[in-house]
């Protein structure tokens, strides 16, 4: 109880309570996340169960009975007769899972390499930072595409579909580690020369312990900010890859896959296939992004 009260009184919580944007963004993000996590219980249909689909339900407009089967769907159906509302919930599950996993992957990799570069300095630092520079000179989606393509080449054809989602996570994660590494390296170099670190060294604390117990906690603030904004970017990167048709399998559509399917039918008047998934993706990315913005401001002492 004491602890909760202390949290309520903290600077962060105060800032949150006084930022309507942050509150709205949190509510929207939570609704989408809950909907995605609870999809098997919330969604009226399971769009990933191909056997339960009836092709004749395809292209049903929202709220209007299908001309062949007479079934009605809240947001209509896509070209395979999948309920769009259920597919958005299940699709958001994939988008969020890939987003979170990719962020965790790039965060762990970026922090590790950043700490190594900042602590060791010298040629290790030069090498890692030059690699980072080279990678920064390419758009990250291009790097993700490249890694995805190369990885598929190495995986035996029979395994590809099962590991597709993990390949996607690694591709997006590898394309994004640089942001973390650069921030952590800078912070680590500053902390390294501070007196408490010097003191720890003098009394003979093991370097690994110094890095993990003393330096790491002091660089986590900026990392959390990057991670939040990175989550929005990773979700969009996944949607982009799926939109390009290289992401998750077509029988398990994510939000990007749904948008890809929908854009083929824009001209023929089936607007609902692209509109609802696009709105869902927009709300998800925007709310996470706004949360990240708020977090950055709240953690920045100069803006307070």
């Amino acid at each position: 109880m004491n602890r909760l009260a202390r949290m309520w009184d903290s600077d962060i919580a105060w800032s949150f309570r006084h930022s309507p944007v942050a509150i709205v963004a949190t509510v929207v993000a939570l609704i989408i996340i809950m909907g995605a996590v609870l999809a098997p219980w919330v969604a009226p249909f399971n769009p990933f169960d191909s056997a339960s689909l009836n092709l004749m339900d395809g292209f049903t407009p929202p709220g209007v009975p299908n001309q062949f089967t007479g079934n009605t769907y809240l947001m209509g159906t896509d070209n395979q007769g999948r309920d769009i509302f259920s597919t958005i919930l299940y699709g958001a599950r994939i988008s969020l899972f890939v987003g979170f996993a990719a962020v965790v992957f790039s965060m762990v990799l970026g922090i590790g390499l950043g700490l190594l570069a900042g602590w060791r300095g010298g040629w290790v630092d030069s090498l890692l930072m030059r690699i980072a520079d080279v990678q920064l000179s390419f758009p990250s989606i291009l790097i993700a595409l490249l890694i995805f393509g190369v990885a598929r080449g190495f995986i035996p054809p029979t395994m590809r579909e099962e590991v597709a989602i993990w390949v996607l996570i690694v591709s997006i994660g590898l394309s994004d580690w640089v942001q973390y590494a650069r921030v952590v390296r800078g912070a680590a170099m500053v902390e390294k020369s501070k007196e408490y670190v010097q003191a720890a060294r003098v009394i003979g604390v093991h370097p690994t312990r110094i890095v993990l117990r003393h330096i790491l906690p002091n660089v986590m603030g900026p990392v959390l900010v990057i991670a939040t904004i990175g989550l929005a970017l990773a979700i969009i990167a996944e949607a982009t890859l799926s939109f390009l048709g290289v992401g998750v399998p077509p029988t398990q559509p994510s939000l990007g896959t749904l948008i890809r399917i929908g854009q083929q039918y824009l001209f023929s008047g089936e607007w609902w296939i692209i509109l609802f998934p696009s709105i869902a993706l927009l709300l998800l990315a925007l709310s996470v992004n706004l949360l990240g913005d708020w977090l950055r401001d709240a953690l920045n002492p100069r803006l307070r």
């Binding site: 056997a51 092709l55 054809p157 048709g245 029988t251 039918y265």
Partner: protein
């Protein structure tokens, strides 16, 4: 600046002329200058008539050059530069062609037998894209000015079917302009014939800007009746939506390659009409029915080897649903693994029943898989009309018979090698039949894979008895006995369920509603067949 001024002036004069033309058309219908603006997905790769055996290239060249025989919209052969063709009575390995008299090339030269000999030799050169179609030719010789003999290596009763895209050019013109050999396209070579033409065709080339615009005008000295369209402006537009928008805005008059989902909207648009017709291409599933174990299945044997499972597959496919929803009516559902144009097709093979999921699930259980099985289904996603959507629908249908298919859909450059290298258990394929004869299907898809046979036989099907019959077809000259042999082969192939056919593809052309143009089975429309008026 100057050029801009010029275009402006030209555009204005052009418009004035058009208005004058329209006024004339109102007063004295028929026999007027009519311009047709034609758009499709891609441009001709070259104008050299023997360099590239490729759809858009041949389609455009058919307006400038002519072939010995032509393919009518119903698929039959029709006389073009040859008026008669037959196998020589004395020697079954010799084809005799009687040529049309009084034909002139665009530059005024006379068309004679030496031009045919020259062109058929040119089409057999190393850099020619048509040499495979003439591989059985031993020599071509001129008998008199209007008779040509083609000597084959052995009896080749169907050789004439291979000639529908082999154009005839003028020997004198080719020699004068140093284009005796076809352009070597793969080596990036250019020659005079790539941008200049001299054919006998109904249109002459007026101007050409590759990938942008090609203008052709009716040739006054053509042997046939003057076509209704006297000027053609050909514009390639790669993006489907832009192509359709160009028609809607009145920028073009005819659009080839219309996406199926846009057909309904175009049909409802005032002033636009759609012509649809079957393409000479069928779309089917096939599977490894021979190996002892599949690559991707979760069972230790090969379910497709069991007739019960193959029968179950034929019971789960709902062809009518695929036609109505996935293809929006733009297909001819069929159980026969060949299009109706092809010699050997019968209505009995075409017939199919309603899906029966319970019976299918029972058959799968009977075959020894009470819990079903899982397998990868390979599919292209950029080759046939809605190919990926067909496969997705199939995955759902298979699921009802407890066959859990994992869909792997990818670009055609990755998909086709899987079939050629036997790396897929279950796949979608489409097959066009340029010779309009079943032997073409048997050679590639049914014959055991050996030598030049069976390169697309992904089912690993191998039946020595059938192989012998298929090989015999190539040299049979008694066409009745040959047709009976084709029927026998199909009976066995259908009985063994080597293919699970889905449908024949339909083509759609969209045009202004005062234009009449029929769909061509090989997607090679000829603007000479266009008529105006409703």
């Amino acid at each position: 600046m100057l050029s801009k001024l010029h275009t402006g002036v030209f555009a204005r004069t052009g418009r004035a002329m058009l208005m004058a033309g329209a006024a004339l058309a109102l007063t004295m219908t028929g026999a007027n200058a009519e311009t047709l603006r034609w758009a499709r997905v891609a441009d001709a790769l070259t104008l050299d008539p023997h360099s590239q055996n490729e759809g858009p290239t041949s389609t455009l060249l058919h307006h400038i050059y002519e072939t010995l025989v032509g393919r009518a919209t119903d698929g039959t052969l029709q006389p073009r530069l040859a008026t008669e063709w037959m196998i020589s009575a004395e020697d079954p390995t010799v084809w005799v062609f009687k040529l049309r008299e009084g034909v002139k090339f665009h530059d005024g030269a006379d068309f004679t037998a030496e031009d045919v000999v020259f062109s058929l030799d040119r089409a057999r050169a190393d850099s020619s894209g048509f040499k495979a179609l003439h591989s059985a030719v031993e020599s071509v010789s001129m008998v008199d000015d209007y008779t040509v003999h083609v000597k084959m290596a052995g009896p080749s009763p169907l050789y004439v079917q291979n000639l529908t895209n082999t154009f005839i050019m003028d020997k004198g013109w080719a020699e004068a302009n140093d284009v005796v050999l076809p352009q070597n396209f793969a080596a990036g070579e250019e020659n005079f014939a790539v941008r200049n033409t001299n054919g006998t065709g109904p249109y002459t080339l007026v101007s050409r800007d590759p990938e942008v615009r090609t203008v052709m005008a009716a040739f006054g000295g053509h042997w046939d009746a003057t076509p209704a369209v006297t000027e053609i402006i050909y514009t390639p537009i790669a993006e489907a939506a832009t192509r359709v928008a160009a028609l809607l805005s009145g920028e073009v008059d005819v659009v080839q390659d219309v996406p199926v989902q846009d057909i309904a909207r175009l049909q409802q648009t005032d002033g636009i009409k759609i012509a649809t017709g079957p393409e000479n291409r069928n779309i089917f599933f096939s599977y490894d029915m021979t190996s002892d174990k599949l690559i991707s299945a979760n069972v230790d044997d090969n379910p497709f080897k069991k007739p019960e499972v193959r029968e179950a597959l034929s019971l789960v496919i709902d062809r009518d649903a695929i036609q109505q929803v996935v293809m929006r009516g733009q297909s001819q559902p069929s159980a026969a693994p060949l299009p109706p144009f092809v010699n050997g097709w019968t209505a009995e093979m075409n017939a199919y029943g309603k899906p029966d999921y319970e019976r299918a699930a029972a058959l799968v259980a009977e075959a020894g898989y009470p819990d079903g099985f899982s397998v990868d289904l390979h599919c292209p996603n950029d080759r046939y009309l809605n190919d990926e959507a067909i496969c997705q629908a199939m995955v759902g249908m298979l699921g009802r018979a407890k066959i859990n298919a994992n869909l792997v859909s990818q670009s055609r450059s990755l998909h086709f090698p899987l079939i050629e290298k036997w790396e897929t258990d279950f796949y979608l394929l489409g097959w066009g039949v340029p010779t309009f004869d079943s032997a073409y299907i048997f050679n590639f898809l049914v014959h055991t894979r050996e030598g030049s046979f069976g390169s697309f036989n992904g089912s690993r099907y191998s039946n020595p008895e059938l192989d012998a019959k298929i090989e015999a077809l190539a040299t049979m000259t008694d066409l009745e006995a040959r047709d009976a042999m084709i029927a026998e082969i199909w009976d066995k192939v259908m009985e063994d369920r080597v293919f699970l056919n889905v449908h024949n593809q339909m083509l759609a052309y969209a045009m202004k509603d005062n234009i009449n143009l029929d769909v061509h089975p090989e997607n090679q429309p000829k603007m000479t067949t266009v008529t105006f008026g409703n």
